[in-house]
């Protein structure tokens, strides 16, 4: 089930918008269950370091299965403020909780207009069913 409370990028990343106690907004970013199913057995993830500037639609890392490698694209523009350090060592459990413990990075959003480009759950589900067909 695609969570209704999140936003989605066309490239299968999900985003949870949180407000930053210090002001502004933080995007928590992960990849969707749909994408995980397509990627099959994950073996490696390369994540950026804290402080790295990321841009909406640009790669911030890579995720690999045995036979394929995919870019991880940032859904928003901003700066990486946290990285899920537990993830690389526990990739096998990522599909169990992709929208919770399976987050990848947190981005301090620099340009809030990038949020408007994202899909809601219904629009994302529609896209997935089209891709699958």
């Amino acid at each position: 089930m695609t969570p209704q409370n999140l936003l989605y990028a066309k490239t299968h990343e999900w985003v949870k918008i949180e407000s930053d106690p210090a002001g502004g907004k933080i995007a928590v970013v992960g990849i969707t269950a749909f994408a995980l199913e397509l990627l099959t057995d994950l073996v490696y993830v390369a994540l950026p370091e804290v402080g790295r500037k990321v841009e909406a639609g640009q790669s911030f890392g890579e995720i690999e299965s045995v036979k394929a490698v995919s870019d991880l694209n940032s859904p928003v523009t901003g700066e990486v403020v946290a990285v899920n350090a537990d993830l690389p060592g526990k990739l096998e459990s990522l599909p169990k909780d992709p929208y919770g413990k399976g987050w990848f990075i947190k981005v301090k959003i620099a340009d809030e207009s990038t949020i408007a480009q994202l899909l809601d759950a219904a629009a994302y589900d529609k896209q997935c069913s089209e891709e699958h067909g």
Binding site: D41, V43, Y44, E64, V66, K67, L91, E92
Partner: protein, 483 residues
């Protein structure tokens, strides 16, 4: 009988004090090492290598060898790799001391026989390709690709042209885009239509004055001769770009047609495939390139020239791209290539392609009755099956079939390549297999398609090990003994 004790790892077999060599006593007056080398440069500890006697080592490796399939022991229809028979005479001749115990810096006067062989080889490759200038330097096919692209880059630089893009069909070997990137170009993939031909309409939209090179494999990776090759070449030349021919599939067209005649400007050979050479568990190969006259000045140095009956290495080539490796080239592979070409002659080389194409078409004719072969009833030297129906109806994948073939005593075809074909199974029998072998192989394939999914999912059942867990290997890489 399987000996599993001797195939433990070397480090597990090691016993302190054992040694597998007896080196001579020192026959010159010895001096203390401390006088000859600074103390800080010396490793105070012995090397942490295993300690084994000579029989230990022999038994270990000979037992390991028995866990392989090989061309000498099994039919090995690995598409695109041209796993043909390796003539034993070539091995013996390439191992003559006068051929193999030669130092790369010995004087040219002391290697006239070899230089003659290499000079002749340059000519043979020019004649077979229809491209007059040859460099024997590159170490492998992919290395040849990159070398030729560096030649193209030097050519355009010399002409003051800024061309940045290399166009590559999406069915191409992965080495093509990787080589183009290494040579400093941007890569633009070109879609193939469902019959495996270059989509001319899309091709035209990407072709412009920024295009440096179009790389094409012909026959292509579906085993089909590109029907529009003449038109494609004209389009490429019309914008001032060059055509690169990936010679991976030369085995199909020896003496039938020549890349130079159908308009290629540069190409590489895979002599270890086309002209046979031991594949050695993954190399060595060689990757000589042949180019059009206008590109000759840019070839790597040296090349072999003959003057007044004497052979020498020519380094005085001011426009050359330089070197792409140390020393002359993979000479040992080239000697085998020379022997192969001399054994066959013109008629024999043509027969190589005729038999290779006959064998592939025969196997295709048998296989198409029970496996989908989506790209037509005819092929060149190889064809690509796409058993999608089995996948959809019985959940039997190409991988399952490949693994089960091992149980029947056949090496698997190339699988999941080219990337543009679903469940791709690329079969290349080569000319050195008999009808009887092909019949038996086709029958095995047919039987497999009737076996239960459960049996196939767990195949192979008879090999020294069952399916290896690739996910585990990649998740927690163990790349040496002890971690």
């Amino acid at each position: 009988m399987r000996n599993t004790r001797s195939t433990q790892l070397l480090f597990e077999l090691s016993r302190p004090g054992c040694v597998g060599v007896d080196l001579p006593v020192c026959d010159v007056p010895e001096r203390p090492i401390s006088e000859l080398l600074p103390a800080g440069a010396i490793n105070p500890a012995p090397l942490p290598l295993p300690e084994l006697s000579e029989p230990d080592v022999v038994r270990h490796f000979v037992n390991l060898s028995t866990q392989n399939m090989s061309v000498d022991t099994h039919f090995y229809p690995l598409g695109s790799c041209t796993m043909k028979y390796n003539p034993k005479r070539n091995e013996r001749l390439a191992s003559l001391p006068g051929m193999v115990d030669l130092h790369p810096y010995q004087p040219e006067s002391a290697v006239q026989g070899l230089l003659e062989l290499l000079h002749e080889s340059q000519y043979f490759l020019a004649e077979i390709s229809g491209l007059p200038a040859v460099s024997l330097q590159p170490a492998a096919g992919a290395h040849g690709e990159m070398t030729a692209l560096l030649v193209a880059a030097a050519y355009f630089r010399d002409r003051g042209e800024k061309r940045t893009t290399v166009l590559i069909p999406d069915g191409a070997h992965g080495t093509n885009p990787a080589s183009a990137a290494m040579a400093g170009f941007d890569v633009q993939p070109i879609r193939c239509d469902e019959d495996g031909f270059v989509d001319l309409e899309e091709f035209a939209t990407h072709l412009n004055e920024r295009t440096a090179v179009f790389m094409i494999t012909n026959p292509n990776t579906l085993g089909i001769f590109e029907k529009n090759i003449k038109k494609i070449v004209e389009m490429v030349h019309a914008v001032g770009a060059l055509v690169y021919l990936d010679g991976a599939n030369m085995n199909a067209i020896l003496g039938i047609t020549r890349p130079g005649d159908f308009g290629a400007d540069l190409m590489h050979y895979n002599p270890h495939k086309t002209f046979s050479g031991p594949h050695g568990g993954g190399g060595p190969g060689a990757g000589p390139i042949a180019v059009a006259e206008k590109l000759a000045p840019y070839l790597p140095s040296p090349i072999v020239v003959k003057e007044n009956g004497v052979y020498r290495l020519d380094y005085d080539r001011p426009k050359s791209i330089g070197r792409v490796r140390s020393f002359f080239g993979n000479v040992g592979v080239l000697v085998r290539m020379y022997c192969y070409i001399r054994t066959h002659g013109a008629k024999g080389l043509r027969e190589v392609s005729e038999h290779a194409v006959l064998n592939a078409n025969y196997l295709l004719a048998k296989v198409k009755h029970f496996l989908e072969v989506p790209h037509g009833d005819r092929c060149m030297h190889e064809f690509v099956a796409s058993p999608v129906k089995l996948k959809n109806e019985k959940n039997i994948s190409t991988m399952d079939i490949a693994k089960r073939l091992l149980d029947y005593g056949y090496h698997a075809p190339t699988v999941y390549f080219p990337l543009i074909v679903k469940e791709a199974m690329m079969i290349e029998p080569t000319e050195t297999e008999s009808k009887a072998t092909l019949d038996a192989f086709a029958e095995a394939l047919f039987r497999i398609t009737g076996e239960s999914a459960d049996l196939l999912h767990d195949a192979p059942h008879t090999t020294p090990v069952s399916r290896a867990d690739e996910v585990l290997a990649a998740r927690k890489p163990v790349l040496k003994h002890g971690g």
